[in-house]
């Protein structure tokens, strides 16, 4: 049975074969063959035509619904999810490839053994969270005596799965000095600074001490897997490198919405996939229908030279070969001056350049040439 489908591999894309397989479940071989033949015929009929301005169509298809997107960030009432910027602001973030998205988020899936046990997952999540000292302790400063007292809140420490001992040790290590005295849950420092200013700076440093967790991860929330196979962790703040190294994490199933980070850690193909994934997520979230082929093309334009480049003058548009295309977009005078120093030549191969000189554009019917003998 399966060899019927086998024969069409290469002729039809995988997802269509899958589709036909599902559609014809439990049918006779004859019917399946007929269905496949019909699918192939339609597939060939549905091929895009040469000359099609696929770039412009893609840009329009994504830009046009932009006016229908919302600007607000959404909080889902009652559901324990983080507030993620959605709609237009997030979309602009994606095409801009900011170094850090305004709400960096990771989804960390754990190995089979752990993910089914909610308590273990919660503990894991608590360990991830980067806890600054000021969250779990009160800092009392006595400027007259030049003395600083840190009073740890044991209940708060508990919430982050920390012991008092651990916390104190870590604090000393980070400050690179021993406490003058330790009384119950309090630590007393007398750093012996002469000026109040340096003392204040010292206090600020104490506040910022990270007692545990992974750098950059501010919050970690445990959520049930959508397929009900257990629990996973969603975090605010991303750190792919360190999270991937953790014991118990399923390294094949960790997601970050930080495109630049993905590019650095997992490479350009992964970055392209995040762009597509994230762009799709935004559009779906807004209930806007856009064919994925358009989004793929945008992602490919951003990544095809091996680095992630933003859409705009810092990226794709700024690196175009045509002087006129760049000058007509942004920073007109700058482009004209550099072009004259470097003796650039505009070959008039693109759309804008030919519009400027008043010639037919090399797109659609404009790429067809007539030869005569």
């Amino acid at each position: 049975m399966s060899d019927i489908f086998e024969k069409y591999k290469g002729k039809l894309p995988k997802n269509i074969i899958e589709y036909v397989r599902k559609k014809t479940e439990g049918r006779s071989a004859k019917e399946i063959r007929k269905a496949l033949e019909m699918a192939l015929e339609e597939f060939q009929k549905n091929q895009a035509e040469p000359g099609e301005a696929v770039g412009i169509v893609a840009a329009q298809s994504i830009g046009e619904p932009g006016t229908q997107m919302t600007m607000r960030t959404f909080h889902y009432a009652g559901v324990a999810e983080l507030a993620v910027p959605q709609g237009l602001p997030r979309f602009i973030e994606i095409v801009d490839v900011r170094r850090e998205p305004s709400m960096p988020i990771m989804e960390i899936h754990l190995k089979e053994e752990i993910k089914t046990d909610e308590d273990k997952v919660i503990e894991f999540a608590e360990r991830l969270e980067n806890v600054p000292l000021e969250d779990v302790a009160e800092i009392d400063e006595d400027f007259a005596k030049r003395r600083i007292t840190i009073i740890f809140n044991e209940k708060a420490l508990n919430e982050h799965a920390l012991t008092l001992e651990e916390a104190m040790k870590k604090t000393e290590k980070e400050l690179r000095r021993k406490a003058k005295e330790k009384v119950d849950n309090a630590m007393i420092f007398e750093p012996g600074f002469a000026t109040l200013r340096s003392l204040r700076r010292f206090v600020d440093r104490i506040r910022e001490i990270k007692l545990c967790g992974i750098k950059g991860i501010k919050k970690a929330v445990v959520l049930p897997e959508p397929d009900g196979s257990g629990w996973y962790i969603q975090t605010e703040g991303t750190n792919l490198v360190d999270v991937l190294k953790l014991e118990g994490v399923d390294p094949t199933n960790v997601f970050s919405n930080n495109i630049k980070e993905i590019e650095k850690v997992l490479g350009i193909e992964a970055a392209r996939n995040v762009i597509i994934h994230e762009a799709k997520a935004v559009l779906d979230g807004q209930g806007l229908k856009v064919n994925p082929r358009h989004i793929m093309l945008v992602a490919d334009v951003m990544t095809y030279d091996g680095t992630v480049r933003p859409i705009g003058r810092q990226g794709v548009s700024g690196l175009k070969s045509s002087v006129f295309a760049r000058a007509a977009f942004e920073e007109t005078v700058k482009h004209l001056h550099t072009a004259s120093i470097k003796g650039h030549k505009d070959e008039l191969k693109g759309v804008t350049e030919n519009i400027i000189v008043g010639q037919p554009i090399p797109v659609g019917t404009g790429i067809v040439k007539l030869g005569m003998k």
Partner: protein, 878 residues
């Protein structure tokens, strides 16, 4: 007719050298004066007749032509002292830092130079990276490796003053240094010495642009007002003269340098009047002058305003209004516009008689112009009509007025996608507005509250062919964005179709015939309801193509657990057999989705257009004969419903108060990842949201099934259940920034509340409905929510507009090539196979490239199951 005979293949960029400037100059400009007392241009002035003419009646002294035909010619100014060109200051700065002051060589050891030279020779890529590296390295060296001279520290005081170790470097000194730099070293720095020797950027002679680029305007008072550029050039000439006089008189060095700096200032602002560090040159009125750089850049600059966008003839613009009597691919053109716009017709042996009629006619449709084979254009008037009639022969072109059936492009801004400009066929109508079929509003995003649209008449056969084959309305029924219909029946078409095709709706013969003839159907089917009556389904079927078989669930489907298909008690299961609507109602799902989609793909655009034309017309007549309206009483709900709603809101309020109590006592359990306050707000929002939903359900329960508002929301014509709820039951929570309304002074949103009140009313919950009316407090909160929406919309359009501009600019050169790859303008492959499978999104079914209809696969089976009824032949109607 002119064809493109010469093609611009490429354009080179470079810097003009002084010799070229002098050579291309027609006259040396010396005097700052422009006109003499008689208003005649002064020789050697900025308006010299050698530079071209802008006054009618005068002749150019260079080419001898008159105003419009003379393109204008350059002149030049000899600068007494050289000055820097602001645009190249950065380059000069790097050159000063990277080259030797005495021998001019690049400040790198010879072996390094050789290394980079080899690198440059080998790589064909852009040399920018290498140049940056070289610059960085040579900046560090302060003793010349070639001649051993010690290098000074160069400082740039923006914008144009250089210092070397506290010693001022005058432009003439810099120019001398630039001259020393050898060509081969310049290449390493990313400068092409063939077109841009660095000393050329220090100007000794300034080109004067032709007067045609800086025309002066004459005011009504007869006063002449010069262009900003002319003003600037006058300034330059004046200072230049003063500098010359002072030097000749042997003035002290200090005064000369001051004047020199002043000359530098004027030349700088002549190129760019927005240079940071110096005040912009101003007009007498205080307005900053628009000089060369300002002319080019920005949205209103030469590039974006005049070069990327061009003005056209043969176009018209007016207000639009709806006319469902048109076909979807027609556009109603006002008589007055049709008389103004023309179509060129080429006179041949075969059409000469027909075209002569246009010349003979003295009223519409007539010929407006005749174009002779030599290109001369003659207006057809009563005086020359007879002469032209005799003169005309093959080879002539006559421009006749726009007529029914002519091909035109129709457009509405903002042109966000390609469907914003489509080809329509002209239908000349009385009135002063463009008329269009309401079904094409969606792709244009048009409504009739005062929108205006543009119309263009293609002038060549080639243009018309492309317009007709690629842009015709019915070819755009499916959008390339998501592969589903976008030219669809909306609003009244949907409600009308629903009301017409409902179960039990029938029409008298008289009315049925009226409906059919409106749609242009002359064949009346056999009545299918007792008493010579016709069911709405039967009438609607007359618009469907023969042989169409379809089954699907409509919008009104209630998602029952077990679907009984065509036995559906709500008539929500649509079954079409051989082009006859057997069961089910036509609503949004049909009209804006599967039905139109299937007809388009199976029968093609012509049949689909025919269906849209016929069905929309029938539906409207059916609806008009029945009547469909909405009034105040349609939002009324009975007293008991009001009580129920009140109870729901009271219960919700109690729930909310319970949460607030818990919060105040500090026993509210926090949702993980949220603060207690957020938790409270989330809970309250959820409760109030639910309360409104319940109110809506109560209202729906008491509202009549035939309530127009309910009908419209149910079938997807307009509005949603939310709108009905807001009208009849309860408006609900008003939101600002996605949460309840929090803003105000002294811990309260309005003076009406106590401080710290966080109850439902004090935070913007509107209990009233629009029918009962809002209390002043509620009204205020509602306005707050509304204002946010308005501001949001404004920001959104600006932001998304810029995003789209960037997207278009980044992707515009990508074309699907004949080998199936997607490449950019430099032939670099972006995708090897477009979209991974090469499928056209417009032809795709949603995300899939292929869709198999159930019907095709199971054909054998179905044939056994039931035999199609042959469509009964109806009687002819004439």
């Amino acid at each position: 007719m002119q064809y493109i005979q010469k093609k611009v293949k490429s354009i080179n960029f470079g810097i003009l050298d002084p010799e070229t400037i002098r050579k291309m100059s027609q006259v040396r400009v010396v005097t700052p004066d422009t006109y003499d007392e008689d208003g005649y241009p002064i020789e050697g002035g900025l308006m010299d007749l050698h530079l071209g003419v802008i006054d009618p009646g005068l002749r150019c002294k260079t080419c001898g032509q008159r105003m419009v035909s003379c393109p204008g010619h350059f002149g030049h100014i000899e600068l007494v002292r050289p000055v820097l060109h602001v645009g190249y200051v950065k380059m000069i700065y790097t050159l000063l830092k990277t080259t030797c002051k005495s021998c001019g060589r690049l400040l790198l050891p010879p072996d390094q130079i050789d290394k980079y030279k080899k690198l440059l020779l080998e790589s064909e890529e852009e040399t920018d990276d290498a140049a940056i590296e070289i610059i960085e390295q040579s900046k560090k060296i302060n003793k010349c490796p070639h001649c051993g001279a010690k290098q000074g520290n160069i400082k740039l005081i923006k914008p144009t003053t250089f210092y070397e170790e506290k010693q001022r470097l005058l432009p003439s000194d810099i120019r001398m240094r630039m001259e020393l730099i050898p060509d081969e070293d310049l290449v390493l720095l990313g400068i092409d010495p063939k077109v841009a020797r660095p000393e050329w950027t220090i100007l000794t002679v300034l080109p004067v642009p032709p007067v045609t680029t800086r025309p002066s305007i004459t005011l009504e008072t007869g006063e002449r007002s010069e262009d900003d550029l002319t003003h600037k050039l006058v300034d330059i000439l004046r200072i230049n003269q003063r500098l010359r006089d002072n030097i000749a008189a042997g003035a002290p060095q200090l005064i000369i340098e001051d004047l020199w700096d002043l000359l530098q200032y004027h030349v700088t602002t002549y190129f760019n009047n927005e240079v940071s560090g110096i005040p912009p040159a101003r007009h007498r009125s205080g307005r900053p002058l628009k000089t060369l750089a300002q002319r080019l850049k920005g949205k209103e600059g030469r590039f974006r305003y005049n070069l990327s966008g061009k003005r056209v003839n043969f176009s018209a613009r007016t207000v639009i209004s709806p006319d469902p009597n048109l076909s979807i691919n027609e556009v109603g053109v006002p008589q007055a516009i049709a008389e103004e716009l023309t179509v060129p017709e080429y006179v041949t042996e075969w059409n000469i008689n027909k075209l002569k009629k246009f010349i003979e006619a003295d009223k519409y449709p007539k010929a407006n112009y005749v174009i002779r084979p030599d290109g001369r254009r003659k207006k057809v008037t009563d005086v020359n009509r007879e002469d032209l009639l005799k003169e005309i022969e093959p080879g002539y072109i006559i421009e006749r007025q726009l007529m029914d059936g002519d091909i035109v492009l129709f457009n509405r801004q903002p042109s966000l996608h390609r469907l914003s400009m489509m080809t329509h066929l002209v239908k000349v109508l009385p009135g002063k507005t463009f008329r269009l079929h309401p079904a094409v509003c969606k792709p244009y995003n048009a409504d009739f509250d005062g929108d205006e649209m543009n119309l263009h008449v293609p002038q060549t056969e080639e243009a018309r062919a492309e317009a007709l084959e690629l842009m015709l309305v019915q070819k755009q029924i499916i959008t390339p964005r998501f592969g589903a219909p976008i030219i669809v029946g909306e609003e009244d078409f949907v409600s009308g179709a629903y009301l017409m095709t409902q179960k039990g709706v029938s029409f008298s013969r008289r009315l049925a015939e009226r409906i059919l003839i409106k749609a242009g159907i002359t064949k009346v089917p056999k009545p299918d309801v007792e008493g010579d009556r016709f069911s709405g389904k039967l009438l609607f079927s007359q618009a469907l193509p023969k042989g169409l078989n379809l089954e699907y669930k409509s919008k009104i489907c209630r998602d029952c657990e077990k679907c009984v298909k065509d036995k559906c008690p709500y008539d929500a299961y649509v079954k079409i057999r051989n082009g006859v609507l057997k069961t089910g109602v036509i609503d949004k799902v049909s009209y804006q989705g599967i039905l139109v989609d299937t007809i388009f793909r199976k029968y093609g655009e012509e049949v689909c257009r025919d269906f849209m034309d016929k069905s929309t017309k029938m539906v409207l007549i059916a609806m008009m004969s029945r009547g469909f309206t909405i009034g105040l009483k349609d939002s009324d709900i009975p007293e008991e419903a009001r009580k129920e709603i009140k109870a729901v809101i009271e219960r919700a309020e109690a729930e909310v108060n319970e949460f607030i109590r818990k919060y105040r006592e500090g026993i509210l359990k926090r949702i993980p990842g949220k603060t207690v306050e957020q938790t409270l707000e989330d809970n309250i929002m959820a409760i109030l949201g639910k309360a409104r939903m319940e109110c809506g359900e109560i209202a729906a329960k008491y509202l009549d099934v035939g309530n127009p508002a309910m009908v419209m929301s149910r079938v997807g014509a307009r509005g949603s259940m939310l709108n009905v709820t807001q009208m009849s039951a309860c408006v609900g929570q008003q939101a600002v920034r996605g949460g309840r309304i929090m803003r105000g002074y002294r811990n309260k949103t309005l003076p009406h509340f106590k401080e710290g009140d966080i109850g439902i009313r004090a935070r913007g919950f509107v209990e009233s409905s629009f029918r009962t009316g809002l209390t002043p407090v509620e009204y205020f909160f509602h306005a707050m929510g509304g204002r946010e929406g308005l501001v949001d919309k404004g920001i959104r359009t600006a932001k998304s507009g810029y995003m789209q501009r960037r997207l278009i600019n980044a992707l515009q050169d990508l074309v699907l090539r004949t080998d199936g790859t997607v490449r950019d303008a430099t032939d670099t492959v972006v995708q090897f196979v477009y979209g991974d499978d090469g499928a056209d999104p417009m032809k795709c079914h949603g995300d899939y490239a292929v869709k198999l209809s159930d019907e095709i696969i199971y054909l054998d089976e179905r044939e056994k199951e039931e035999e199609y009824e042959e469509a009964e032949e109806g009687e002819e109607y004439e």
